[in-house]
Amino acid sequence: MWAGIAIGVGFFLVFGIVPTVANLVISFTNYSGLSGTPTAFTGLSNYTQLFTQQGPGFTASILDTIIFVLGVTVVQNVIGMALAHRLVNDTKTGSALRILVFFPIVLGVTVVGIVWLLLFDPFSSPAASFFGLFGVHPGFFGSNSWAMPLVITVQVWQNLGFTMAVYIGALKTIPASVYEAAMLDGVTPWQRFTRVTWPLMAPAVTVNVLFAVIGSLITYNIIYILTDGEFGTNTLGMLAFNTAFGQTADLGLGAAVTIALFVVAVAVAIPLAALLRSRERRLLA
């Protein structure tokens, strides 16, 4: 028993905790990663730089992050819930559509990114032709007003299958007798949803909301492929990646952004989890 736990926890410590602590240390230095240049402790200077930075820095990316996280979480859960209700029945079309919704997850982030770049190419694409009919020629992923909604769309499109799967799993655990009882009471379909289904699905909502929030908060790969954080899509996850690896790589500053992102993620996740749990208890009581 102990051996099993030790191996797993060992992996977690060596490849999860140790590098994060190392990151914390690096964030207090001017570490450059180049051999030959001396590394010195610089105290909080990376963090002060974070908050005082001009242009596309930490402060500016907070707004992008809020829009992205809220957009993804709300849209993904609303559509995921609707899809789950539509596709929960075990019919032929139901199963074909479920496979279809699940498919983008399997394709992987690079392929999904390229597919949407092709679909919304500003010069030659179905989207360009469609808007061309109205004499509009948006820049899509290269435009400040379009980039964020499109990036949210792609993120949701890719991950909808998971959200739907969790909701369908929860829907299938609701016993038919509960619905029959509700039917005898003569409730409308909407009342049936708000008073029966929704409370019973509270745990599934917790899982889906939490995963959507944390996932979209720390993600960068889909944004990297679609816009590289330009045009108002520079979320914290993207910024952390680009400060460490972008054109002006600054490892100390990059580590500071990563740590700040971690603090934000924990600060959002823990109260959110507590809130959702207490809601579960209230609704299931």
């Binding site: 926890v9 977690f12 994060t20 496979i99 498919f103 992987g108 790969n221 924990v266 996740a269």
Partner: protein, 270 residues
Amino acid sequence: MQLSNPRRMRRLTTGILIALLFLVPMVYVVMISLESSQQFLAHPLVPPVPPSVGNFGSAWQQGDLGPEIVNTVIYSLSAAAISTALSLLIAFPVARHLVRWHSPIFVSFVIGLCLPLPIIPLFIESRDLGLYNNRIGYILLHVEPGLPLGVILLTAFVYSIPTELDEAAWLDGAGYMRYIVRFITPLAWPGIVITFLYSLLGVWNDIIGPVVFLSSPNLFPVSRGVYSFYSSNQSAYTLLAAAVIIVSAPIAFLFVISQRQLLRATMGFR
């Protein structure tokens, strides 16, 4: 069950909308992959008749896609298998409170879920531990990211398995490992499948790992291959579409043959 007509119409409409949302992007990519670049420039939205398959040959030759697909399959299957097994070995004793530290262990994995990838220290570690630029190393480096979600999810699944079963099995003298393999694994199967799939996709979707942990081209997974193919062929849309289809085809095939199992396990369909 007979449905009333308006209700039937509504279901039909939503069904078609869902199908369009997911089919249109894929159909478009398949279509332009079959267009010659001249046709794409003139009439991109007209279906190519007769289709030209030249893009597939060029994409296959230009990118090193074949070996890269094999690499990706090896990496993601091995890392996901190790990660899932380790998650279960932690989740079971934690869910059953068999260890004193069950609560701190669980909480630390919840925090682990929030950890952004500490990529720079990981790079230094991979170099110092001899994991840099080799297959085994790349697999081991990808075990950890799957653990937090796996532990959390499987703890919940094990929790829902009645403890009476444990007691019965222990009275029969089943060993710890034997018990997990014979009894817990089948009962927690949906959770195991989701955990496995989730960590598999983590490896499959990783675009920074291949850049940081690998330097020999023969070790590259396909996520790096497709991306660099994209960077160097940004305006060759038809070629790009063909490359996307080549790398997706094996995955799509695997998905289609396993989808019954997969959807049954994750959503409880028979």
